[in-house]
Amino acid sequence: MSDLRRTPLHALHIELGARMVPFAGYDMPVQYPSGIMTEHTHTREKAGLFDVSHMGQVRLSGDGVAAAFEQMVPMDVQGLAEDRQRYGFFTNAEGGIEDDLMFANRGDHLFVVVNAACKAADIARMKAVLEPEVSVDPVEDRALMALQGPAAETVLAALAPAVASMRFMDVATVDIMGAACWVSRSGYTGEDGYEISVPAGMAEPVARALLTHDDVLPIGLGARDSLRLEAGLCLYGHDIDSATTPVEAGLNWAIQKARRSGGARAGGFPGADRVLAQLQEGAARKRVGLKPEGRAPMREGVELFGAAEGGAPVGALTSGGFGPTVGGPVAMGYLPAALTSEGTVVFGELRGRRLPLTVCALPFVAAGFKR
């Protein structure tokens, strides 16, 4: 228990009555007294405040930092305009995904946000590849919070008017209550909103100020998971991992032209041979959205079969649960390419019975981004 790390908002979570759970080495709120269903729905309809301070914030700086970072990710880093952010991932020699991340061009440095569970390995990996030419500096003195939902703009603009004119994936340094905050118009719920990096000492005052707004509720990890699942977004370690490639995961859109075959800087990242080949030829298996028929949620690990009886498993669910906005169970998983067209019916084995699921388009709930 005492080994768990605490974010700068820990005391506030306790005060708000959160149920705390260990997550990636941190003591984190899984839900508040209003409950996961209310928290989820509130975020879709108004706004939710999430503590994501457990995630890794890292600054990369030095001459040629963009070119250097391109050795680690299949993204167009050099072509990213100043004060813009992109989604990306580290690949390994087999083309598998080592972690997914966001990176922003802040002019004199790149600002990278990585998953909590992977951050130590990510930082070690970046130091190994990038140093000494590029300096890799973990940001330990800042909290990270996300304000998500259709009311996020109005709520945050009341404290910092400049955020209203930001577009999806813009980043800026913004004064909030006297603190220099690094704000991006992004998130991981499928809703419009912001991620806000706040100096640790100002995290609680800023969070309290946001929570005083009638439209804002604190949201725990439980609703964060159901929101991202409905939005069709991958959770690292579940929907993607070191043995899944970007093409299998359906993340082709995140690999810009410059890094593909025939592009200005094609390849040059770990596993490029395999990833570039799959981009052209497709992968044998693909991540899909799946809707279980009926009401029973099907969760991660449920094996998928091509028929109601007999045969070996053809795939498995990597995420699944109840989608409060959908009003029923939703899931994601991997299937052989031949079974991935929309409307295909497969069967998931649940408590010894095979129940049908239908392959469907992602996201389950349309995104509300301000492009």
Partner: protein, 111 residues
């Protein structure tokens, strides 16, 4: 699993248990007429976060099930010890209930 104050042979979960489970989204009940054995897994209950099994409290027969909670699982969060009973049971050996806690004992147990 307890009988609430207005219940006779009704079986359900306590309000405390419902609160611990969180928002309940799915309930699967045994069929009426099923014979069950004490500690057999007979109910599946799923919250937004996780699936749990509920064990038969005693030996006996399921005589009636509450379809209303299958249709509207959220009822369990709203009224666990009232309208959201799970099923009614006919005991084969009523003495198995001698060890059950009463409400005061349960409140002490959950602290």
């Amino acid at each position: 699993m307890v009988a609430g104050r207005r219940w006779r042979d009704h079986v359900g979960i306590t309000s405390h248990a419902a609160e611990q489970l969180g928002d309940i989204v799915f309930v699967e009940l045994p069929e009426a007429g099923t014979d069950v054995t004490k500690d057999e897994e007979i109910v599946v209950i799923e919250s937004v976060k996780a699936a749990s099994d509920i064990l038969a409290p005693i030996d006996g027969e399921i005589v009636e099930i509450n379809e209303a909670i299958v249709e509207n699982p959220a009822m369990v969060n709203e009224d666990a010890q009232g309208e959201a009973w799970f099923f009614r049971m006919k005991a084969s050996d009523p003495s198995q209930m001698d060890d059950f806690m009463d409400e005061a004992g349960y409140k002490e147990f959950i602290g």
